[in-house]
């Protein structure tokens, strides 16, 4: 096990190099969001002017609002639909029906996006926020169903039997026993779906249409124009927000061990 040459130098160096590769560009992006002068010039002085410009831009608020509506609706829909389905399907022993939901994540996202676009334009459904929500809920079910199912497997069946034997209705059992037990899995999968929906670009790009801009599409169209310090400010805020959610997520995950 003790191999000095390899373990002492090469491996830590390779790891360090990879982490530098992963995070130096991000750090520079963040640093430039606080620079008082726009990009081609180097660091001048600390300033929050790009953040002020960001806050004062009405379009940013509009697209953020759109993205939040989409994300919250997809979370709500996929949790409600998913949990009801898993609860009943697991008692009916519909393993196959549950395992089909793994396909939602295995199918390449661009194919899913294009297929949805094909469906909507074939039946002349106007593209809007609603069509994006439909797509994101498909993705969301792919996370909610497996995670909730895994958690439900750990529930001691005799508790359910006891509850039913003692006269609780199936709905009482569901709301007072199953749902509290599933709560950590619901929080974790809800967070996941929320962040996936907020960060998703492909489905929004294909299924949103021109009227319904989301945050990702807005970032994309700004990137096509080129470097813009306001976009750095926006990216920094999005990165901080996502990191906070991932942090909560990892804490919960280590607490309840559902994977």
């Amino acid at each position: 096990m003790k191999n000095k040459g390899l373990s002492a130098y090469i491996l830590p160096c390779a790891t360090g190099a990879l982490y530098c590769f992963l995070y130096i560009p991000i750090c520079i992006l963040i640093i430039f969001s606080f620079n008082s002068v726009a990009f081609p010039s180097k660091w001048v002085s600390f300033s929050l002017r790009w953040y002020e410009a960001l806050v004062q831009d009405p379009e940013i608020w509009f697209v953020t609002f759109n993205s939040l509506i989409i994300a919250l609706s997809s979370v709500f829909l996929s949790l409600v639909i998913g949990v009801c389905f898993v609860f009943y399907a697991s008692f009916k022993r519909w393993r196959y029906a549950i395992s089909t939901f793994y396909a939602n994540l295995m199918i390449p996202e661009i194919i899913l996006a294009v297929s949805l676009l094909g469906l909507f334009s074939f039946f002349s459904v106007p593209l809007s926020i609603t069509t994006v929500i439909m797509g994101h809920t498909v993705l969301g079910l792919g996370y909610v169903v497996p995670i909730v199912y895994t958690r439900l497997q750990e529930l001691d069946k005799s508790i359910l039997e006891a509850s039913l034997d003692l006269g609780a209705s199936i709905h009482q059992t569901f709301f007072f026993i199953v749902l509290p037990f599933l709560m950590p899995a619901l929080v974790v999968s809800g967070l996941l779906v929320f962040i996936i929906s907020l960060d998703d670009f492909l489905i929004a790009f294909f299924c949103a249409g021109p009227s319904a801009q989301t945050l990702s599409i807005y970032v994309f169209s700004m990137m096509r124009i080129g470097i813009n310090p306001t976009l750095n400010a926006l990216s920094t805020i999005m990165l901080v927000f996502s990191s906070a959610i991932v942090f909560v997520f990892t804490l919960l995950r280590s607490r309840i061990r559902i994977f």
Binding site: L11, I28, C84, P108, L116, D199, F201
Partner: protein, 293 residues
Amino acid sequence: MAKGKHGIVTKMNKIRIDDEWSFFALVPALLWQILFLVVPVGLIILLSCVYFVGYTPVVTGSFFAHVFKLAYIRIIIFSLFMGLFTASLSLFIGYPTAYFLAFYVKDWLKNVLLFLLILPFWTNFLIHVYAWFFMLKRDGLLNDFLFSLGFIKEPLHLFNNLFAVSLVMLYCYIPFMVLPLYTVLEKIDPSLLEASQDLGASSSQTFFKVVFPLSIAGVLTGFILVFVPSFGEFVIPLLVGGEKYALVGSVIQYLFLSARDMNLGAAFTCLSSIILLLSIACIYILFNKKIIK
């Protein structure tokens, strides 16, 4: 077997639920799945070989014939190459890190490093692409850095070329390689490595005869997780490749959104999906042969 008041059938230790609600609970998810996953994918397959005159469907092979042109085939081959290149490169670069994380790092440092590895999965990947704008542009930091070290006299062209595309693709997808590798490596019992060394194997023998074969499942998962999205990429070549390089995703996006030709787009999507599935099958067979060896 007794049927209870609420339609609950208790039989031995098994609980079965039979009530009118189960229908309403089961149908939405299945309906959603069918309406927004099965039907759309089926429709794409259908549209690739059928067009409609009014409401009458006409079957034709002309869309596939149109897609079977050298220009399209060349793009598919180029995408296969880019996917394999990105996946292999991220395997070589990611393996040492996964190995180090699994066997040498402990406690809080491990948690921090894992957190940093998971983070890219849940942050907007457009931001990751954008971050490279500052490194790669003509007056970007990479050029500045090389200039100040005296390696170059005038700025290199690092942006809007194949170098930028492959670098950013590697950057975006390498976490997809490291994480599955780590998951597999972490489960390997370190005493196996000690046993191998005690029995006289050199460290490279230990690696190639013990560790690597045990990690093959992670290698395979990582390889496919990197290969599939890089094959279908269109954002990265568009944003950092100066629209000079088309991957499969670029063509799909062009046919559906710019040319607005559903049938051709569907035919191309089907063709590239078939080739994607075939190449995944090849990768599987290749890795499985390695295990048997």
